[in-house]
């Protein structure tokens, strides 16, 4: 019976309890009725990913762990934005203010930590933030849009990640650090300097031995005053100086508290009905601030709540952490403090910016710090965990496990034992990943994530997992080649697009330089792609690079097998006139054009035009008002129409007029691949609208908009996007969906492939459900058209790119011979 289910109440909805609940629902979905109170007004998201969110490398949607649906499917009551302030242990009720309360049989406290705020004068001013949750990132992004200068107080992991993110958002950032070198706990001074230089190379200033005295300004922050009298301008101050376990609710309830809420190895507090997990829990004197040990706690707590005593109890953990700043590799694990009975082996290569430190105690590795090259980190971590005697290979261990067999990363991974942990966050070892790949025939990173959770949290082990895929599948796995833009880079199309945007790359050489292209000038695959991405990301700013376009787009005509060209003028909506036909006939005669043909797109193609005649042909056509049909372009091609209500006895709307209106509005825009459209006047669909990239089918009550059809290499029927009532709405929805495709499509990816990749639901969400987003996309399209809507033929008639159409020289045979 439903009522017999026990009640579990959870305080805090961070990553740790999220994992506990996952395990409970996977093991015994009927065990508990769950209620969650979360002070943050949102679902469970990946806090680790706040730095990529800040830098713009990820979006909020991408870092959500459990969306609303997850809670609904499990009948979980999630109070978003409700802070628990009281626990009544005798009646077993928790209270959030006077408004809400919930009874529990078992209570799980997972309140995390609070960031420390140094109480210097001015610390309450607007613009002083900490770095802990989504609201902090929002505040930083807001400040980055309006202000110029940011000061980050604290040069540890969090501070440096915040600084790097803010710099990528275009702010002038200064890091103020109390100690003489950065990350002094992990790095010795020399390595600290290497790191400082790498940080400074990103345009970030670093002040060490600097103590903040006061935060200056009126109601909002304007600057930071240091002890030595230095004044730094600041529109934003980020305090990243440490965290403190959040214990106040537990404390008020009389639970045993030390630094954190004290728990036993089954995660029970001093009240057996109350458990605590996460950063607020203290075990044998330690509190933990990294997800790997916290997920261990999460699993143990789930076992305890399910009454399962067979699982492993919680033990002290060896910690490992990694700095998540793209391009700076820094890793530390174990205990790397120096002391008398410890020895160190250090390797330093300043020119290659490599630093490695191994800390050894009684012939065992107890800690390591790796900077610059972190490829062997798993091996070292495993040595620390196993407490293996290292005296046999002490001399060579600095060079990794594969020493003597060549030093590639693959070798390093191949030589790892099965128990070696690959994904620190989720505690997944090599053997488990390899087994999953074999057993379930996995072949992509995403599948490995789904089956094993490896690489699904902070993502820094993605490279290792890819190597395991290569190792297991051999030739069959093409780690990056599969979706890399081309052989000149390992980055995929989405990565490149995103990085162009967030790093504000605005020329092709910029992109190749900043993203470490492997070839100096790219190739015939990536250059046109980059040209398109820059054009669609920076309309009006980026200057189209003609030399990165295929010949057809460069000369605005289609090259034929014999090197001549074909010319296809626009016939708006497939409608023509005597004047246009006469002009075409005249041109055909005058230039002796061998073939005139009706195309499959309701217009006329003149084939076999000599290249040097092109400008003159265009000039004559232009005189009759004919413009380029872009039959050669990754651009809007045709808008086919049928006769519609003007003539047809079944026509419900003016399909011809609407087709013409759409074509006149949208022609001449560049797109990832060609775009073909059609408008049919009724569901008999004589314009074949349901196999076009965008098709409109008119009905009595309005217009159906269909997208993602094709009838070339693959025949695909469109999917219905939505139905609208007026022509004006058709214009808005169609332009918005094309703009979304322009921004998301991979170069040469037809709309139907894009749709298959992103899913119709995500397109509907943006275009149909979200009026604001649709308007924004529509405006984006209009803005871009203001720069691109002109007739390229007329420009060339007037002399643009004249060199394309005539030979450099015509040499006299006699003279040469």
């Amino acid at each position: 019976m439903e009522d017999m289910k026990k009640k579990l109440v959870v305080i805090g909805n961070g990553m740790t309890p999220g994992r506990t609940l996952e395990r409970i629902f996977e093991t015994n979905p009927a065990a508990y009725d769950v209620t969650i109170f979360n002070a943050e007004p949102r679902v469970n998201y990946d806090r680790i990913m706040l730095s990529p969110l800040l830098s713009g490398e990820k979006t909020y949607e991408e870092i959500i762990i459990h969306g609303d649906g997850w809670y609904i499917d499990r009948d979980i009551m999630l109070y978003k934005g409700f802070k628990v302030d009281r626990i009544d242990r005798r009646s077993r009720i928790v209270y959030s203010g006077d408004e809400e309360c919930a009874e529990y049989d078992k209570l799980l406290i997972a309140t995390g930590s609070n960031p420390i705020i140094i109480p210097v004068p001015g610390h309450v001013k607007e613009g002083v933030v900490t770095y802990r949750d989504y609201d902090d990132v929002e505040a930083m992004l807001w400040a980055a849009q309006r202000g110029e200068h940011a000061v980050v107080i604290g040069g540890g992991l969090l501070g440096l990640e915040a600084a790097a993110g803010l710099a990528m958002q275009g702010m002038q950032v200064t890091v103020v650090h109390l100690m003489p070198t950065l990350m002094e706990r992990q790095l010795d001074p020399a390595a600290g300097h290497l790191l400082q230089k790498a940080v400074e190379d990103r345009g970030i200033s670093v002040l060490t031995e600097a103590n903040t005295k006061e935060i200056l300004g009126g109601p909002s922050v304007e600057g930071v005053l240091l002890d030595d009298g230095t004044e730094l301008p600041a529109d934003l101050v980020v305090m990243a100086v440490g965290i403190r376990p959040s214990v106040s609710v537990g404390e008020a309830a009389g639970l045993e508290i030390n630094r954190g809420i004290v728990v036993d190895n089954r995660m029970r507090t001093s009240d057996p009905n109350i458990l605590a997990v996460g950063e607020c829990a203290e075990f044998e004197g330690d509190v933990y601030g990294l997800v790997a040990p916290l997920y261990q706690m999460a699993n143990v707590a789930a076992d305890t709540l399910l009454g399962d005593r067979t699982g492993k109890p919680f033990e002290k953990q060896v910690l490992a952490t990694q700095l998540k700043v793209t391009g700076i590799d820094l890793y530390s694990a174990g205990d790397f403090e120096t002391s008398e009975n410890r020895e160190e082996i250090v390797l330093r290569d300043a020119r290659r910016s490599i630093y490695r430190r191994l800390v050894i105690e009684e012939d065992k590795l107890v800690g390591t710090v790796l900077y610059g090259d972190t490829a062997n980190n798993s091996w070292y971590l495993q040595l620390i965990r196993d407490g293996e005697n290292i005296s046999d290979f002490r001399d060579t261990m600095m060079f990794g496990p594969g020493y003597g067999e060549g030093q590639s990363a693959d070798v390093a991974v191949a030589s790892l034992a099965d128990e070696v942990e690959i994904c620190g966050c989720n505690g997944v070892c090599k053997g488990a990943i390899v087994n999953a790949i074999n057993e379930h025939e996995l072949s992509t990173i995403d599948e490995v994530r789904t089956y094993t959770k490896a690489s699904s949290s902070c993502g820094t082990c993605t490279g290792l997992v890819e190597q395991l895929l290569t190792l297991t599948l051999g030739e069959d796995y093409k780690p990056t080649a599969a979706d890399a833009v081309c052989g000149c880079t390992d980055l995929g199309h989405d990565d490149v697009r995103k990085l162009i945007e967030v790093q504000r790359l605005q020329t092709i050489p910029d992109v190749m330089q900043s993203l470490h292209w492997k070839s100096s000038e790219g190739c015939a695959k990536c250059r046109p792609a980059l040209n398109y991405y820059l054009l669609s990301t920076w309309p009006g700013i980026y200057e189209d690079d003609q030399q990165s376009r295929f010949i057809n787009e460069r000369v605005h005509a289609n090259i034929q097998k014999d090197g001549t060209y074909s010319v296809v003028p626009r016939m708006w909506g497939g409608v023509t006139s005597a004047d246009e036909l006469r002009a075409i006939a005249d041109v055909v005669e005058k230039f002796e054009i061998p073939t005139v043909k009706l195309t499959g797109g309701q217009r006329i193609d003149m084939l076999g035009v000599r290249k040097e005649d092109l400008p003159a042909v265009w000039s004559d056509l232009g005189d009759a008002g004919l413009v380029s049909g872009h039959a050669y372009g990754k651009a809007l091609r045709t808008v086919k129409t049928c006769v519609g209500s003007e003539w047809c006895r079944f026509g419900t709307q003016d399909s011809t007029g609407l087709g013409i209106r759409i074509e006149k509005f949208m022609w001449s825009c560049w797109t990832p691949a060609k775009v073909k459209m059609a408008v049919s006047g009724c569901p008999r669909n004589c314009a074949e609208a349901t196999c076009k990239d965008v098709g409109v089918v008119c009905v009595d009550s309005g217009y159906e908009i269909h997208i993602g059809g094709g009838s070339g290499l693959t025949v695909r029927q469109t999917e219905l996007l939505c139905k609208v009532a007026t022509e004006d709405e058709v214009m808005e929805f169609v332009a918005a969906v094309v703009q979304l495709y322009r921004l998301q499509g991979h170069y040469l990816e037809r709309m139907y492939k894009w749709l298959a990749r992103v899913g119709i639901e995500s397109i509907k969400e943006a275009i149909v459900d979200d009026d604001e987003r649709r308007k924004e996309l529509y405006d984006g399209f209009v803005h871009s058209q203001s720069f691109s809507q002109h007739n390229p033929w007329a420009e060339r008639v007037n002399g643009v790119d004249a060199h394309e159409f005539k030979p450099l020289a015509e040499l006299d045979l006699v003279e040469v011979v």
Partner: protein, 116 residues
């Protein structure tokens, strides 16, 4: 070689950087390519695959990709970039300041055995 063994065809500036122009001698076309580093090369403008006009291709590094079916040709050697390369005939280029000269003996070779 004496100066009358070289034929002036234009200046480097006449050719777009990372691009090409074509010169025509009777029935024969020669593509003159300029790389991003301002090196200039000349090849018969006929792709060894199915005769595509190489001067219409995309120039990248010291290579050009044929516009018809994407065969990649090394401008310096005239060889296609593949395990068993095919060859395009080439013509020596001399640069004197901005001026571009082509070797007359090479041009003579090209027109004495036209491919198309």
């Amino acid at each position: 070689m004496t100066t009358d063994e070289w034929r002036l065809i234009g200046t480097v500036e006449d050719i777009p950087r990372s691009g090409a122009r074509r010169i025509r001698i009777g029935e024969v076309d020669v593509g003159v390519f300029r790389t991003a580093n301002d090196d200039v090369f000349a090849l018969e403008d006929v792709c060894p695959h199915l005769g595509g006009p190489l001067s219409e291709g995309i120039v990248h590094g010291n290579e050009v990709t044929c516009p018809l079916h994407n065969m990649v040709i090394d401008l310096a050697t005239g060889l296609s970039v593949e395990p068993t390369p095919k060859c395009v005939r080439s013509c020596l280029v001399r640069l004197e300041g901005e001026k571009v000269y082509l070797s007359k003996p090479d041009l003579r070779d090209l027109i004495s055995q036209p491919i198309r």
